[in-house]
């Protein structure tokens, strides 16, 4: 039966699991997460860890399972933040999946589908964070993980323009931003904001010390807001810079910005519609960045208009007031 095979597309090896008794959730196996190693019979079991976050309790349990099943006693943190248990014998898939299931740990995916989202620490604990990246990653994982697409579909969430989660290299990336506004009466002309702004978007008036703001240079990081001692710089709104069509690998592509200040509550809809568009327009084996190149960005933007209108145009500049 087709679903009794784990396909490893890189080597065209099919592993027969027939006659292994017991129940395995083949839906999990179908969506991958088992990656053939060079070594005979041995596989990497990749776990699903959205945003790279795990409770310590679960981590302890995973450690026990990894210790039991990894023939070499090693794990690896994948480049996309998921924990991989190495050197697992395929004959033990049933058991390891069952044990992982018991502690509520799912196996990840590979192949042409929506992958486990990655995310930085975000505003929960990172001082620069503007958005709750971890919460968003969890939401996307719950709602979209495993959804079939023409090729892999990778999402990530960065909490601020430092972009640690590399949204510029994702099929679809979300990076936190804040729009700064200046409330003149509160300003004492201390010049700290001009020092704090690393983009030279603020210079101090030589006489008053008050900020002179250059909208063309502002990248919406919020450093001025955090540094201002008098709350004269304030946050007008928070949201996400939305980027599409990035990837790395042999032929890296940089994602393009398609929306500015998309609010949290529109992220799910943006992914939903983008996946719809990709499935309708993408060719099999074509990353969305290439689909956009072939079909044209405009067709995509027209399709997304009902969602992206909740944010601003990608060329938006903050008036600063």
């Amino acid at each position: 039966m087709a679903d009794r095979f784990i396909e490893d597309k890189s080597t065209k090896v099919a592993v027969n699991l027939e006659g292994m008794g017991e129940k395995v959730d083949f839906n999990d196996l179908k969506s991958g997460g088992f990656i053939k190693q060079r070594q005979k019979d041995l596989f990497v079991v990749r776990l699903r860890c959205p945003g790279g976050r795990l409770s310590t309790k679960k981590l302890v349990e995973i450690a026990k399972i990894a210790d039991k099943y990894s023939k070499k006693g090693v794990v690896h943190f994948s480049f996309r933040q998921s924990l991989e248990i190495l050197y697992v014998d395929y004959k033990e898939f049933n058991n390891i999946v069952a044990e992982l299931e018991k502690i509520g740990q799912k196996v990840a995916s590979c192949g042409p589908r929506v992958r486990v989202p990655t995310a930085c620490g975000g505003c929960e604990y990172n001082p620069n964070g503007l958005t709750d990246t971890q919460k968003m990653a969890e939401m996307v994982d719950q709602k979209f993980f495993g959804t079939p697409t023409p090729h892999k579909f990778k999402t990530s969430f960065s909490g601020c323009p430092i972009d640690c989660a590399r949204t510029k290299e994702m099929d679809f990336g979300f990076q936190g931003v804040v729009e700064p506004v200046w409330d003149e009466p509160l300003c004492t002309g201390c010049t700290i904001c001009a020092q704090a702004c690393k983009e030279d978007a603020i210079v101090s008036d030589p006489d008053s010390g008050k900020p002179i703001f250059d909208p063309n240079k502002c990248i919406f990081c919020g450093d001025c807001i955090r540094a201002c001692p008098t709350e004269s710089w304030k946050a007008k709104r928070y949201g996400h810079t939305v980027r599409i069509g990035g990837k790395h690998g042999r032929h890296p592509m940089e994602a393009v910005e398609v929306c500015q200040f998309l609010p949290d509550e529109k992220v799910a809809e943006a992914i939903q519609k983008t996946v719809e568009w990709y499935n309708a327009n993408g060719k099999r084996g074509e990353r969305i960045g290439n689909t956009l190149k072939r079909v044209g960005l405009k067709a995509y933007l027209d399709y997304m208009e009902p969602v992206f209108k909740s944010g601003s145009h990608p060329s938006f500049k903050a008036p600063g007031k």
């Binding site: 001082p127 004492t188 201390c190 010049t191 700290i192 020092q195 704090a196 690393k198 010390g209 450093d223 955090r226 540094a227 001692p229």
Partner: protein, 79 residues
């Protein structure tokens, strides 16, 4: 305006991030609520970072003076 009375003084010129903030924090911990610490820090990284962290810990920056020689004089009220 510049005559805010200070209760303690710390010169952190040449002290790097985040040690400068940790020293500030330790100093503030020895002080009573509402007391004012005068702080001298370099411009560049220190002035970009220390005020943010002071605010995050719930203290109030009540005065800022930029000195010609490339440093800042802050007055911080313990929160």
């Amino acid at each position: 305006m510049s005559e805010i009375k200070t209760d303690a003084f710390l010169d952190l010129r040449g002290v790097m991030c985040p040690i400068n903030f940790v020293k500030t924090k330790l100093k503030l911990e020895t002080m009573g609520e509402g007391e004012v610490l005068e702080l001298v820090i370099d411009d560049g990284e220190p002035i970009q970072n220390v005020p943010k962290s002071i605010k995050e810990e719930g203290h109030k920056i009540v005065e800022v003076k930029k000195e010609k020689e490339g440093f800042f004089r802050l007055k911080i009220q313990k929160g």
